[in-house]
Subunit: 340 residues, 2 copies
C-alpha cells in the first residue's frame, strides 16, 4: 500500500515496467487494450507516482521557488499570486519561501533549494544580491530571476519597478503641495528598494531646493510596528526640526506612522502629510486614505515567472532581459492639502 511502485502495477497488469512508464508518459505509443489494463491496475492499487524518483532520473524538479522578504507584506503576496498563475499554467508548482529580511535565512533557503534541484528561483534578495548562494545557483545552471530589483548584471533576468522615479514622484508631489521640510522614513538602507526610493526623493528635493537636505530616519524593518516607532522618534524632535511631510519607504511603515500620529493628536494631512509606497489594498481603507506610489504587483510576479520559464525552456539561446515598469502616484487624502 505505502509502497505501490510501478513494478507492482506492471505485475498486476501483466506487462513490463517500461510499458507502465509508457502509459504514463507517452500513452499513444501503447495499444488501447494494454493501456486500459494498466490504467485499471493503477486505479486498483491506488498507485501514485514517486516524484523523487522522477526527479532523480530527470536531474531537475518541476518546482519553482519564490523567495520574498516578508510573506505578510501585501505587496509580496500579490507578487506571489501573479507568479502563481503563470507557474501553474505551466504545470509546475510554486513554493513560497520567506527570508524575513534575514540574510542567514535566505541563505539557508537557497541551500535547501539547491539541494532540491529546483527548476528556477524568483527572488527579491535581502542585500545587494551578489552573495555566493545566488552565484552558485547560476553556476549550477539554475535560472534566477530578480524580482523588484534591477540588475546591472547581464547574467540574469530581472523585473523591477523604477524606484528612483517613484521616490521622485512622491517628493515632487509634496513639493507641489508647498512642503519643504520633508523626511524619508524607512530602512534598512541596505535594501536596494529603500535606497533607490531615497535617491529619487533626495534628487527631487535637491533640484528644487539645493540647500534643503532630505531628513532621513531609518528603521530596522519595513513593518507597521517599525512605522509607529519611527513616528514616535519624529515627535520627539524639537518643533522647529519637525518635518511637515513624510515619505515612507512602504505602506506598512506609512500606516504605522499614521496610526501613531493619530493617537498622539497630530492631524493628517493638516499637521503632517504622508505618502506611502506600494499602494497595497489597505492603503485606501486607512483612517486617512493614504497617498501612495503604486506598483504593478501582480504583473511583476507574472512577468518574472514568464521570464523564468522561458529561460528554463530555451536553455542556451536564452537572452537575459531586464524589464522595468513605471510606478504611478495615487494621491489620496493623506497628502492632499496645500501647505499655507
Amino acid at each position: 500500500m505505502a509502497a505501490t511502485s510501478i513494478k507492482e502495477v506492471a505485475r498486476h497488469a501483466g506487462v513490463s515496467l517500461g510499458t507502465v512508464s509508457n502509459v504514463l508518459n507517452r500513452p499513444n505509443t501503447v495499444s488501447p487494450a494494454t493501456r486500459q489494463r494498466v490504467l485499471d491496475a493503477i486505479a486498483a492499487l491506488g498507485y501514485v507516482r514517486n516524484d523523487s524518483a522522477r526527479q532523480l532520473r530527470a536531474g531537475q524538479s518541476r518546482t519553482i521557488a519564490i523567495v520574498v522578504l516578508d510573506v505578510a507584506n501585501p505587496f509580496f503576496t500579490d507578487v506571489v499570486r501573479g507568479a502563481e498563475q503563470v507557474v501553474e499554467e505551466a504545470g509546475a508548482m510554486l513554493v513560497v519561501c520567506n527570508s524575513g529580511e534575514d540574510g542567514a535565512r535566505e541563505r539557508r533557503h537557497l541551500d535547501l533549494l539547491e539541494e532540491q534541484r529546483v527548476r528556477g528561483v524568483l527572488i527579491t534578495p535581502v542585500g545587494h544580491g551578489r552573495h555566493p548562494g545566488l552565484e552558485r545557483l547560476h553556476e549550477r545552471g539554475i535560472p534566477v530571476v530578480l524580482v523588484d530589483r534591477g540588475s546591472g548584471r547581464a547574467s540574469r533576468c530581472s523585473v523591477a519597478v523604477d524606484d528612483v522615479l517613484g521616490g521622485r514622484l512622491a517628493v515632487e508631489h509634496l513639493l507641489d503641495r508647498g512642503h519643504r521640510r520633508i523626511a524619508y522614513l524607512g530602512g534598512p538602507l541596505t535594501i536596494p528598494q529603500v535606497a533607490d526610493r531615497h535617491a529619487g526623493a533626495a534628487a527631487a528635493l535637491a533640484e528644487r531646493h539645493p540647500d534643503t537636505p532630505l531628513r532621513v530616519a531609518t528603521t530596522n524593518t519595513l513593518t507597521v510596528a517599525a512605522g509607529r516607532r519611527a513616528a514616535e522618534d519624529l515627535l520627539a524632535l524639537p518643533a522647529r526640526q519637525q518635518p511637515s511631510a513624510v515619505f515612507c519607504a512602504n505602506d506598512l511603515i506609512a500606516l504605522g506612522v499614521l496610526q501613531q500620529l493619530t493617537e498622539r493628536g497630530v492631524r493628517v494631512p493638516d499637521d503632517m502629510a504622508i505618502v506611502g509606497y506600494d499602494d497595497i489594498e489597505f492603503a485606501g481603507a486607512a483612517a486617512v486614505p493614504l497617498s501612495s506610489v503604486r506598483q504593478p504587483r501582480e504583473l511583476l510576479g507574472r512577468t518574472a515567472a514568464q521570464l523564468l520559464l522561458e529561460e528554463s525552456t530555451a536553455g542556451a539561446e536564452h537572452r537575459h532581459r531586464h524589464v522595468v515598469f513605471q510606478p504611478e502616484l495615487v494621491v489620496r487624502r493623506s497628502s492632499d492639502h496645500r501647505r499655507p
Copy 2:
C-alpha cells in the same frame, strides 16, 4: 560541475562512496584525517547533496506543506509565520500552497504533494474536509493536521478557534449596544468557519429576540471587493429593511463594507455599526477603527506545526488531539456607539 556526485567526491578524496556518506551523515564514525580530506574534496568540487536521491532512499521528504485558502489574507499569512518558526526549528522546510478557496486547485495541490511524499500537510480545507484527496494522504500514512477547523474525526489532529463562540461574542456585543436589526455578511456558507460564525450569531440573537431573524447576505469570497459589493446590495434595500449593524465573516469583508459605506455617505458607527473577524493588523488602522473578533493566529500556526511534527515522529503511538482556542472581542470605534 553540474553533475558533481558523491562518487566524484570519493574519487577526488581517494576514499570510497560509503565513507563520503558517513562523513555527511555520521561524521564521528570516520577518522579526523579522512574526514578532513573528504570535506576538502567537497569544498573543492562544490558538491551539493542531491535531495531527490536522498528522499528516494528515505521514502519521504523533509518538506511540510501548508495549504491555505488565500495567501493574500493577513490571517493566513500570520498562521504561516507561526508554522514556519516551528518547522524551521525542526530543520524541515515549509512550502506554502494557495487553494484560493477553489476545490479543484486544492485537489491538484494535494495530488502534487502526495507525489512528492511530503512529510505532512497542514491544511484549511475548502469544503467539509472529507474529500478523497485528504483521505488518500491519510491512507498513505502522511499526517494531516486541520487548521482553523475543528474535526469530528478522531483520525487526525486539528487546531481551531471556537467560531461559534466568536459569532456569539460579536452579536451579543451589538445587542448590548442596542442593535436589533443585525445582518451577517460573508460566504460562501460552505466554508465551515463562515457557517460556524453564523451559527453563533444566530443563536445569540435568537436567545434574546426569538422573533427577530438574523438577516444573512452571502458573498462568493472573503475579500475586500466582495465586501464592497455586499455593502452596495445592503444599501439597495428599502430603508425599513436596512440593518443598523453588520457582523462580517472576516475583516476583509468588513473593510470592504466600511469603504463602500463611507463612500456613500453612510456614517459608521452612527448610521451603521460594523464588527469584523480575525483582528488583522489593518483592522485597527482603518478609516474607522474596526471592532473585531481576535484569533491567536500565530499560535494557531505554531500549534498545528507542533502537532504535525509530533505525529510524524511518534508514529503509531501518536494520539490525535483537537486543540480549540478561545476568540476574544476587541471593541473599537466601528461599533462603539449606543443605539438611541
